[in-house]
């Protein structure tokens, strides 16, 4: 395998940000800078990003169809949860995920990322209407979406039972909606709820997507 060596700045696709900067900006557990996503991890993510962002439209940006293609091997697959994740990753709200957004958002999924951040991300994910609360109707909508996606048909009564049971367990103050504190308490009782907020792959990403770009503006110790 060859290496690309350069002292000059390579012209990157729109939305590209420097790995060194991104690395220092992506917080992990307890927001301890020593646990930030490393530069080599950011560079490996860039390899993955290039692959995803050029899968349909070769413009170096991840469009929703490209995101869907990566998740489902089908660019037309409509999925409520994938849409929510895409929207949360799209920090600038411009309909595409730029490289900086991709890295910053995936930072939450890093095994070293703060538990608090994972819990908050999951809360924002399930707060479909962005009201600062997870409402009963939203929970029901998500259950229906999951059942539809899984091709499971349950009676209305059964769906109501599932939703009611969970809602009464989580809505501690009984005001008909789940706030951030109630969500935190609920997750601490059911830690498996945020299992998919951690991607072990991010630890090993440098092996899966080795970056063959040796950059002179990076300390040798970083390589």
């Amino acid at each position: 395998m060859g290496c690309y060596c350069s002292t000059s700045k390579k012209t990157e696709a729109q939305g590209y940000e420097e790995p060194t900067i991104l690395s220092s900006e992506t917080p992990c557990e307890y927001h301890d800078p020593s646990l930030n996503v490393t530069v080599s991890e950011v560079e490996a993510l860039h390899e993955l990003y290039k692959k995803l962002s050029n899968s349909i439209v070769e413009d170096g940006l991840i469009h929703k169809e490209e995101f869907q293609l990566a998740l489902f091997r089908n660019k037309n697959k409509k999925n409520l949860f994938a849409d929510r994740i895409f929207d949360l990753f799209d920090l600038k709200r411009n309909g595409v995920i730029e490289f900086g957004e991709f890295v910053r958002s995936l930072g939450v999924f890093h095994p070293n990322a703060a538990l608090e951040d994972k819990i908050t991300f999951a809360f924002r994910l399930y707060d479909l209407r962005q009201t600062g609360f997870i409402e009963r109707e939203e929970l029901k909508e998500m259950v229906l979406a999951l059942l539809h996606e899984s091709d499971l048909e349950l009676s209305d009564d059964m769906i109501e039972t599932i939703v009611d049971k969970t809602f009464s367990d989580a809505d501690i103050n009984g005001d008909g909606r789940i706030d951030q504190d109630e969500w935190k308490a609920f997750v601490s009782k059911h830690p498996s709820l945020i299992k998919n907020m951690t991607l072990p792959y991010l630890k090993d990403i440098t092996l899966a997507f080795p970056s063959f770009v040796i950059r002179t503006d990076i300390e040798e110790s970083e390589m």
Partner: protein
């Protein structure tokens, strides 16, 4: 995941969630497994009851309550005892608390309030005529059945919230003071009739006004307001309603004066309040009350058997009810269900090959025990040892494969009463071997599998 659910049975009752809790008793939802009827199960700790020397009083009250059969009073169906507990089986009322209606919709029309108030007075009158007093009438004790009829709960079970002291009079130490009569607050001992009627007056006020007659964030001020009956009727009340409420808690000026300035003459004040307070015959004769009044029609079934009460309080072991705990599959909550969505599994962004998975799941409409048995029956012929614990299984291949012995873990989760999710994952060994094993296993499970994960994702590739 949530902890495995433990189903508890007491005699013929299947015990569910806790629906209320007090100093002496916990109330749980339960279901009669023979009839399917829901009940409320009041559970008392024998040790606590004996320690507070309340066994005899509770026995008396429970025996009396078994005799009370009125459409507006929550029925006491039976009493059971175990080594450590006393179980009081009560009618389960489904319509929630009456006062939720006020919280949610504000004050009631006088006609609606009158209907509930008539039912309340019917219940109180019936119980008083049989020597049974409530002594703690408050919003939580006023329930509605499925047809919107009032049901008073905890009638006659005052021992569970109050205590008798050496003076032989009842003394209360609990509850919200807003509904409590002055003599109760002043803790001078009281009789049940006047205390209950005072509370009925306050309840009537709240029904028609939508707020409390006596209220103050400062407890001492609140006590003072109650003691001097300091309240104002809202302007929207009809004259006849106002007259009834005022006659209820009206205290003559002399008493107000005494209450404010001569607290050592409190006994005289209390006596005055008692003299002035309205009686049930007067209520029944009141013009506002009588409008559209229909006296309750109900049958008092002849004999009531009190053998169960005697057996429980004599603590005869032959009558002890059996308490059993049965493991249930772990309940999967809605968020756990949602988190299974493929759209939330970002591993697919990295897993470009999407090779064989290390875990899979299927749903089943069969009972959990049947699923367990079928998995065991299917795994053994494939050369697997089976270990079972509750609703988890460990299947270990006796023959070593490419990467040692293949071990498979399975667990059953309850998604809804008649739907289970079965998770099958590789715990040890080769992923390809696991995949082959699962294919063979699922073929043998045809009659219990409703949808496999592949079925669930078929539409994605269409």
């Amino acid at each position: 995941m949530s902890q495995p659910k433990i189903k508890r049975r007491v005699g013929k009752y299947e015990v569910g969630r806790t629906i209320g809790e007090g100093t002496f008793a916990k109330v749980k939802f339960a279901r009669n497994s023979e009839t399917g009827d829901p009940v409320a199960l009041k559970i008392l700790d024998k040790e606590k009851v004996l320690k507070h020397k309340m066994a005899e009083q509770i026995r008396r009250e429970v025996a009396t309550m078994k005799l009370i059969k009125h459409p507006n009073v929550v029925r006491l169906c039976e009493v059971m005892g175990s080594k450590t507990k006393i179980y009081i089986v009560l009618e389960f009322v489904t319509g929630g608390e009456l006062f939720d209606k006020i919280v949610n919709h504000g004050r009631m029309s006088e006609n609606e309030a009158r209907r509930y108030f008539q039912q309340l007075i019917n219940a109180v009158d019936y119980c008083h005529s049989r020597g049974v007093y409530h002594r703690d009438l408050k919003p939580e004790n006023l329930l509605l059945d499925a047809y919107g009829n009032l049901k008073v709960s905890d009638f006659g079970l005052s021992a569970l919230s109050q205590q008798v002291r050496d003076d032989g009079l009842l003394h209360t130490t609990c509850g919200t003071p807003n509904y409590v009569a002055p003599e109760v607050l002043n803790d001078r001992g009281y009789d049940g009739v006047t205390a209950d009627l005072w509370s009925c007056g306050v309840i009537l006020f709240v029904l028609v006004a939508g707020y409390l007659p006596f209220d103050d964030p400062n407890l001492m001020n609140l006590y003072k307001k109650i003691s001097v009956a300091e309240f104002t009727c809202p302007p929207w009340l009809s004259f006849s309603a106002r007259k009834l409420i005022t006659s209820w808690i009206l205290i003559p000026p002399l008493t107000k004066f005494l209450a404010s300035y001569h607290l050592h003459q409190l006994d005289f004040m209390i006596m005055q309040i008692r003299i002035m307070r309205i009686t049930i015959p007067e209520i029944l004769d009141d013009e506002w009350f009588k409008k559209d009044y229909k006296p309750p029609v109900f049958e008092e079934n002849g004999e009531t058997n009190l053998d169960d009460v005697e057996a429980v309080f004599k603590d005869s072991e032959e009558h002890h009810v059996t308490e059993k705990k049965e493991e249930q599959p772990t309940a999967m909550n809605a968020f756990e269900l949602i988190s299974m969505s493929k759209g939330l599994n970002l591993e697919n962004l990295f897993d470009t090959e999407q090779g064989f998975k290390r875990e899979t799941r299927f749903t089943s409409k069969s009972p959990a025990d049947e699923i367990i048995n079928k998995i065991e029956e299917a795994a053994k012929p494939l050369g697997f040892d089976v270990q079972k614990k509750n609703y988890k299984m460990r299947l270990a291949n006796v023959k070593a494969g490419r990467k040692g012995n293949l071990n498979v873990a399975t667990e059953i989760f309850q998604v809804a009463p008649s739907l289970h999710m079965v998770e099958v994952r590789k715990a040890k060994g080769d992923t390809l071997e696991f995949h082959k094993f699962y294919k063979k296993l699922s073929t043998s499970l045809d009659d219990v599998v409703w949808k496999t994960e592949d079925d669930m994702q078929m539409r994605e590739t269409k």
